[in-house]
Symmetry: C2
Subunit: 233 residues, 2 copies
């Protein structure tokens, strides 16, 4: 009998179709941990010695260049794997993972990877599929940065955030974690000034509502028009 209960993860897509036995096998090799807001769960270029499954919270994946400039590669949502360097045969993490809010995650030591994948091959294929999706998303991002204006990129990014991490409120869909203008700028390759201007304009148009480290999309439909339409107005 593992310390962690199978119901923790049984509902997640990654684990669909697994037997109780397999779930227990996975869980009894994992440890659960709580990570307070702003903690670096692991650091870029640090020795990769574990991989993780986010149970609750939101995690910011950040890449830093040699000049100290940083970009946000993605946000991790509950139910997603992260830090799976071992699946790519990497010895170090390619980015840092920062808790955007208080988080709970399962952690497996890398040494468990061969056993886990041998005993539960669906777990391995889930991990590889995750990596494939991230590669695709990252390539989509390159294409967006090549072909779209800043305005469209920011709009697309907001729509993706509310779609992946949105929470319904009375006024619209709110991004479920604190996010600054600077953060959005680092996701879209622009400056916080430009993001602030765009959000202010959209607020005047009634598409979004802002607040300190808060963004609520109140009119996703019209925001999508801005995101798609090449020339607006």
């Amino acid at each position: 009998m593992p310390e962690l209960d199978g119901s923790l993860i049984a509902g997640l897509p990654l684990f669909s179709g697994m037997s109780k036995k397999e779930l227990d096998f996975l869980l009894c090799r994992a440890r659960s941990a709580r990570y307070p807001k702003d903690l670096a769960i692991f650091e870029q270029d640090g020795n990769a010695d574990a991989f993780f499954l986010l149970l609750d919270g939101h995690i910011r994946v950040v890449r830093l260049n040699e000049d100290g400039e940083q970009v946000i590669a993605r946000y991790i949502n509950p139910g997603e794997l992260f830090g799976i360097a071992v699946a790519m045969g990497r010895a170090t993490y390619p980015a840092s993972a920062i808790a955007a809010v208080d988080c709970v995650a399962l952690a497996w030591p890398n040494e468990a990877w061969p056993d886990l994948t041998a005993r539960v091959p669906q777990f391995a294929s889930g991990a590889y599929r995750t990596i494939g999706e991230r590669l695709q998303e990252t390539q989509d991002q390159v294409m967006q940065m090549s072909t779209e204006q800043v305005e469209q990129r920011v709009a697309h990014t907001l729509l993706r955030l509310v779609q992946q991490s949105g929470r319904k409120t009375a006024e619209g869909i709110e991004i479920d974690f604190p996010i600054t203008r600077q953060d959005i700028a680092e996701m879209t390759g622009t400056t916080l000034h430009t993001v602030s201007r765009l959000l202010s304009a959209w607020e005047d148009m009634g598409l979004v509502r802002g607040g300190r480290q808060r963004v609520i999309v109140t009119d996703a439909h019209n925001l999508m028009l801005i995101a798609e339409h090449r020339r607006k107005r």
Copy 2:
């Protein structure tokens, strides 16, 4: 005895440390094919039914968006895998692969993947490592597009191309396949006009030499200064 000889691939990093038996097992499941210049070996969103190893030539991996704009995700060099959608659990190819010159490649049907990875696990890990490297490279590209000016991006791209696909000549290192200004623009997220202007300027400075669909880097050191230095001159 397979039709294809083990010496074809024995020297490649992907296959280092494999026994003759394992190499033969891999080879006897593959078919070798020749792809003439400009042929699409597979198409974006097409049904992924095979994966490939490039033996000779150069392949352009191209992503197209709904507006018909395209970006070049990467070039594949001899010895590299491509089209390995099956390793990411994908049913379709995320991009098109175009022969930049006449090419020779091995092709395995996707159905062979389970057998191959079961019998030669090092082959699977090589594929997963390849995917990991491409994810990292793509994320590096996002960071470059976020933090660097066009001039630096083009310089970095040229340096990477000559490093990965360069051929020594009397005048410098030449990119070993035909590449247009438009191609370079599609790799860097700019226009052929800007690329042309930059190459002309660099030619005046003695850093590169150009020709129709040809680029020779004659002074990699000073080109690197342009690539690295934030503000040049």
